[in-house]
């Protein structure tokens, strides 16, 4: 038989690639002009893209944006009375403080959120049509953000309190908007614009998550009553469109509550959105739970961990980590779906846009208004997606 020799000590001859073209040129050749057909496609799509881009940019620079600048306050906070705007600023200030502290405490993904919000504040600050006192408040908030950032870096011990305040942030905000229970409350019927969008979206996201978690756990329960309640709930909600849920909410919730109890339109919309998204989140989370191998349960049980400890330390951290992308997708979709509340008579950001367009004073300004509204939605959805990607990287999703 022939003898095979291994020459392990010998360096292989390394051939360097010939340096005839620059990297950019090579990239172009390989990706855009690799054959005559691809070259043709490249040129055709470049022409179409250029045409669209040209007209978009031309529109942006020639359009009359006064409809936005004149109605900026309406788009942001609706008809919230101007003498009570300080309540919104108080809540906003609280958010700035929390954001700054969290930025200092956790860095990482929190830094991305904080810097993005900071950028939004700076952009608003330099907009020409913003009133002077709004500018001052925004400026103060920017300073506050940096101050609390430094406080956060110096005081690592306040992580738990900050988390607690975050959890309470939405109820506190609603409490502040209603005048601390001392001043005359501002009826939620005149909350509007982006403020309303934000409130409905954050309440739905924050409240539907724990409900979804419970539904997911319940669906896997061995108790038939619990299990079938969850299955029926989830399948029922997933079987009807969100608009129907919102209509049902408007009509049925007062019916269930009986006379005596008044519940505002905004609250009904929040309840409807929350119950709707909980069903979808439950299915996402169930997917995560199913991805955990049986051995993890057995290892936890064999160590004597109780069921509650097993779930909260071993199973859920792994399951939730696995479903971050799916859950954030659901959050983004809730955020956008809040625009449907316009149909049940609320003036959220989109609803306010529609009202402006219907106003004869701003006839023919649909493009400007809807572009602006779309842009705001885009910024926040993109921010959520970006933070979720960061979170995946820091938590090492997909690694084992």
């Amino acid at each position: 038989m022939e003898e095979i020799s291994f020459e392990t000590n010998k360096e292989p001859d390394i051939l360097l690639p010939p340096k005839t073209q620059s990297r950019a040129l090579r990239w172009l050749r390989e990706n855009l002009f690799s054959s005559w057909f691809n070259a043709l496609l490249t040129i055709a799509s470049a022409l179409v893209a250029g045409y669209i881009l040209f007209h978009t940019i031309q529109f942006i620079f020639t359009a009359d944006w006064s409809v936005i600048s004149v109605n900026f306050r309406l788009l942001m906070i609706g008809q919230f009375p101007i003498e009570e705007v300080w309540r919104i600023w108080t809540a906003f200030g609280l958010m700035t403080v929390l954001l700054g502290l969290s930025w200092g405490l956790w860095k990482g993904s929190m830094a991305h959120v904080a810097v993005s919000i900071l950028a939004i504040m700076v952009v608003m600050l330099v907009m020409p049509f913003i009133q002077m006192n709004t500018r001052l408040i925004l400026g103060a908030n920017i300073v506050l953000l940096f101050l609390t950032f430094f406080v956060g870096t110096k005081l690592p011990k306040i992580k738990v309190p900050v988390l607690l305040v975050w959890l309470l942030f939405i109820p506190v905000t609603i409490f502040i908007l209603n005048g601390f229970g001392v001043f005359e409350p501002v009826s939620s019927n005149i909350w509007g614009g982006f403020l309303l969008t934000m409130l409905i979206a954050s309440v739905s996201i924050v409240v539907s998550f724990p409900i979804g978690l419970l539904l997911a756990l319940g669906r896997r329960s061995t108790l038939p009553v619990v299990k079938y309640f969850c299955v029926i709930y989830i399948e029922f909600i997933r079987g009807i469109p969100l608009i129907t849920v919102l209509f049902i909410g408007q009509l049925m919730i007062p019916l269930f509550l009986g006379n005596g109890i008044e519940i505002s339109n905004v609250m009904r919309a929040m309840i409807g959105m929350t119950l709707f998204s909980a069903a979808y989140l439950a299915e996402n989370i169930r997917g995560g739970l199913q991805s955990i191998p049986r051995g993890q349960y057995e290892a936890a049980q064999s160590l004597g961990l109780s069921k509650a400890h097993m779930m909260s330390f071993v199973i859920l951290p792994q399951a939730l980590k696995a479903v971050i992308p799916a859950c954030v997708g659901q959050f983004i979709s809730i955020f956008k779906d809040t625009s449907l509340v316009a149909i049940v008579g609320l003036t959220d950001l989109l609803g306010m846009g529609q009202k402006l367009v219907a106003n004869p004073e701003f006839l023919g300004k649909q493009m400007e208004v809807f572009l602006f509204v779309g842009f705001i939605y885009f910024i926040f959805c993109f921010l959520m997606a970006h933070v979720s990607r960061r979170l995946e990287v820091t938590l090492g999703v997909g690694e084992r």
Binding site: A299, S302, L303
Partner: protein, 259 residues
């Protein structure tokens, strides 16, 4: 000095010691399949029992019933004086007294090695975090990988992971250790490091039930060998007797296929 794994070592002969595990007339079915047939077994304190048998003979199922990872239909199991019933409290007490090591390690991948080991002592034994971590570090030292404490399971080799799994089970200060094919998923060169740890553990006086295919370990370490086939115990006795003078035909067949 405290003995290596902090188990009380007994000088009294095996026959005079207390029973650690008593199994009487155990029967289990998976659907219509009768997987455990009238199994009787008594394990004394500090005894090392190795369970052998062809695959599918019910040996894994058997040791998994001992800490209630599997249910059984008829029979009686008493572990350290606690009767195994459907009562959740009894089950949790028995699990506190029995550590288990699995074929596939089953470490918690999202926790550091130190957290893996100290989790149960902190939440089940209610020890202070500092004490639990100190004991975790000592145990890591004893299984020979103190430098890995702050890594994650995915960064360790199979042999190291299995040694961590042993340390994790030992951290609960169990009176009994159950091993379910602990070396079957390991690369050959890592089998020895795990068997060495188990050997030291056996020498320190731990009561052990080991399902394995490692004949060398069985012959060298076991006080008694139990042979399972088709869900029943067909033969049991000291290693010399089983390996050199097997009585039952099926034992002879099994050993001839393995050795």
């Amino acid at each position: 000095m405290e003995s290596l794994f902090a188990v009380e070592r007994l000088s009294t002969p095996l026959e005079e010691r207390d029973d650690m595990i008593t199994v009487k007339g155990l029967n289990k079915w998976f659907g219509d399949l009768h997987v455990l047939k009238n199994v009787d077994l008594t394990v004394k304190q500090g005894e090392v029992v190795v369970i052998l048998g062809p695959s599918g003979s019910g040996k894994s199922t058997f040791i998994r019933t001992l800490n209630a990872l599997e249910e059984f239909q008829t029979g009686e199991i008493v572990v350290d004086g606690i009767s195994l019933t459907n009562d959740l409290k009894n089950i949790e007490e028995i699990r506190m007294e029995t550590g288990m090591v699995f074929q596939s390690f089953n470490l918690f991948p999202h926790m550091t090695i130190l957290k893996n080991i100290s989790l149960a002592p902190i939440w089940v034994r209610k020890w202070k975090k500092q004490r639990a971590e100190q004991i975790a570090l000592e145990l890591l030292e004893r299984v020979g990988i103190p430098e890995q404490a702050h890594k994650f399971p995915g960064q360790l080799s199979g042999g190291q992971q299995q040694r961590v799994a042993i340390a994790r089970a030992l951290a609960m200060r169990p009176k009994i250790m159950l091993f379910d094919e602990p070396t079957s998923a390991l690369d050959p060169e890592m089998v020895k490091e795990v068997l060495d740890v188990m050997k030291t553990l056996a020498e320190s006086g731990m009561t052990m039930l080991v399902v394995t295919h490692e004949m060398g370990f069985a012959r060298q370490v076991a006080d008694r060998i139990v042979l399972f086939d088709y869900g029943e115990i067909i033969e049991e006795g000291p290693p010399e007797q089983i390996f050199d003078h097997p009585q039952h035909d099926r034992t002879k067949l099994f050993l001839s296929q393995i050795l």
